[in-house]
Every structure is written in structure tokens, then in C-alpha cells.
Symmetry: C2
DNA sequence: GTCTATAGCGAGATAGAC
DNA sequence: GTCTATCTCGCTATAGAC
């Protein structure tokens, strides 16, 4: 066994982050106290500072980890030479990835205003990189003539907003399976880009 | 003149609401103190309680006023017998109305979780009523055969998310006029619904 | 690594003078 | 209608025992 005798530190750190994410999503960063987090983790408030230098860093780390995971997952999608197939792949990927992480998505969008300027800039750069990827796909589709769009930049914004909106209403075990939701949204995306 | 000698009370009330809305949008409800609001209004903290019983009521009043204004404006749109013309009218109305009130839109969405349950229920009912209006338009389009959609409920969610998303990037005096933005979004909406 | 205890501060809200 | 002063509470963060 590689575990040390006092191994709870290896488990408490991730647990602090998990609890913080859930509470931030539910009540908002500013409305959640370090005491609340500690209570839900099952430690005293002072012990939290072994895992984060302060509350702001805790928020930033959660948001950065989420955005990095998103970019990494995007980068490991199988290559897709056909622009329309790539757009379908992106659509289904976006819905699946985001619906599986509703707390992180919510926090990463809603709490931007609670980041210090330097931290804000770093998260925003990651978000722009993701948007630019979609815009690139749309531009390729326009080039190949498979897609017709008045403005690829606005289309990228519009599609991401539309797809992320799934998180506001989708609940597992509801009327529709996620696969069916993907189908329906892909149908609307495909038509919206004139394919 | 109808103004009384001590007329500042007639102007301070609206000003408190205006300042609170701006600060809530910028920093979040929980992060803004009554002292901050008072300072920006130019009164002492205690004086705020002449205009609102407490901070929660201030938030709720702002959100309710916004939603009521939205529903009222929707109800006074000129009647539109053709389903497709009605959908275009809705699209342009939504973009215009929401882009002119970005603070209220932002607060009314982001701060839902800071409402007491009873207040939350009232705001949610108003939002659902707005969504139902759009879904009704889409259903009429399907009936008349001018629109093709796999699911009108999801389409309503998708279109509202897409249109409201304009607020995340649109700034007056930017690359595109609002009229041009309306055109571009209407093009995508029209195609997305299979018209 | 976690605890107790506490410093230092700022919050929401109220009382009463003017 | 607005002010000053204050009550009471909870916050972030730290110190030091174990």
C-alpha cells in the first residue's frame, strides 16, 4: 500500500474543492462562508487554510480546472475532416460535457465578476479559445460551401449560448434522454447554419 | 408646480433601486452591502430603510418589476396573424428589449438563487409564462406547416437562450448595429425552425 | 493535520436626535 | 427625510495547543 498512515490530507483536499463547487453553484461565491464549507466537509474552518491560501484562490482554482478540462477534452476529440461532421461532433460533445458538470459550468460563468482582474483575464482567455475553435469549424464549413452563415463569430456565440442553455432545464431521468436531446439540438444547429 | 418643498423622497426611492440594480449586476447581490448602495446614492445607510423593508425585498422588487415590464411589453406588441411574421417580431422584440436592460436581465437570472422560496416561485412563474408564449408561436407555425421542429418546448428554450446570449457580447457602438444583429439572429432563428 | 480560540473587521438593521 | 450612533451577528484569517 502506498497510503501513509495519516492519509486524510490526500482525500480532504479534493473534498474541499468538491464541496466548495457545489455550495458556490447553489448559493453563490459571496454568499457561502468558509464555515459552511468546513461544516459540510466535516472539518473546522481553520483547517481549510491547509488546502487553499484563501477563498479567492479556491474559486479561481475551481474555474481554471474546469476550463482546462474542457480544453483538454476538446483537444482529444478524434479528428474529423468533414466540416459538417466536425460540427455535429462539437455539438454533441458540448452538450455531453457541460450537462455532466452543471455546477462547474454555472460557477465558471456566474462568478467571473468575483475574480480579481488578473484571474479574470486568464479564465476569459480560455473561454475565447473555446469559442475560437467553434468559429474555426464554422469558417471551414463556409469555405467548403456546406454551411451558409451571415457572420461566423456571431454564429459561434449564438450556438454556444443555445447549447449551454440545456443546463438550465435538463435533468437526468426527465422526459428526454441525453442522447435524444443531442439529436434535437443537432437538428436545430444543422438547420441554423444552413446545412 | 406640483413638487413639494421636501421632494427628495420622490427622487431618492427610484435612485436607490437604480443604484442597487447596477451594483447587484456588477458585483452580485450577496457581495454588495447596504452601505455601498447608500454611499453611491449619497445618503447614509440607515436612510435606505425608508425605501425598502430589507435587502431581500429590494432584490425581489427589482426582479419582479423587470419581469412585469417584459410581460407588459410583450402583451402590447401588435397582433400578427402570420406565424412566421410573429416569430420574427418576437425575435426582434426579445433582442431589443433585453439588450436595452442588461443589468436587469443579468440580475433577474443570476440572483434567482438568492430569493426566498416564495419570491422565487413568483419570478419563475413569470418566466415560464414568457417561455410559453414563444412555445405557442412555434406550435402555431408547426400547425400551419411553416415551421418544422422535433420539439417545440426544447426549441423555445433553445431560442431564448440563444437570443438572450446577445447580452454577453453586444456593446453599443461596436462592430455591428443592433438592427444588423437582429437581422443576423433572425436569419439563424428562421433557419433553425425549418422555415 | 486538525483542533480551539480569537483578533479584527464589516455586515444588516434599529433607535432616536434634528 | 436624513442623520449619528449603536446593537448584534457572522465573516476571513491566524495563532498556538495537541
Amino acid at each position: 500500500m502506498a497510503r501513509k498512515k495519516n492519509s486524510s490530507g490526500e482525500i480532504t483536499g479534493p473534498r474541499v474543492r468538491q464541496v466548495a463547487l457545489q455550495l458556490f453553484a447553489r448559493h453563490g461565491f459571496a454568499a457561502v462562508s468558509m464555515r459552511q464549507i468546513a461544516q459540510q466537509v466535516g472539518v473546522q474552518a481553520g483547517a481549510l487554510y491547509l488546502y487553499t491560501p484563501d477563498k479567492q484562490s479556491l474559486l479561481f482554482d475551481l474555474m481554471q480546472a474546469h476550463m482546462q478540462e474542457l480544453l483538454d477534452a476538446l483537444a482529444t476529440l478524434p479528428p474529423c475532416p468533414d466540416p459538417l461532421a466536425a460540427l455535429e461532433q462539437f455539438t454533441r460533445f458540448h452538450i455531453r460535457f457541460h450537462s455532466a458538470r452543471s455546477d462547474a459550468v454555472f460557477v465558471s460563468y456566474m462568478e467571473l465578476r468575483n475574480l480579481e482582474p488578473a484571474n479574470f483575464a486568464r479564465i476569459e482567455a480560455m473561454r475565447r479559445s473555446y469559442e475560437a475553435h467553434l468559429e474555426g469549424l464554422l469558417a471551414k464549413g463556409v469555405e467548403s460551401g456546406q454551411v451558409t452563415l451571415p457572420d461566423t463569430k456571431l454564429a459561434a456565440f449564438a450556438l454556444i449560448a443555445m447549447l449551454t442553455g440545456v443546463n438550465t432545464w435538463y435533468r437526468e431521468g426527465g422526459r428526454l434522454s441525453l442522447a435524444r436531446v443531442e439529436d434535437i439540438y443537432w437538428d436545430m444547429v444543422r438547420k441554423a447554419v444552413g446545412a
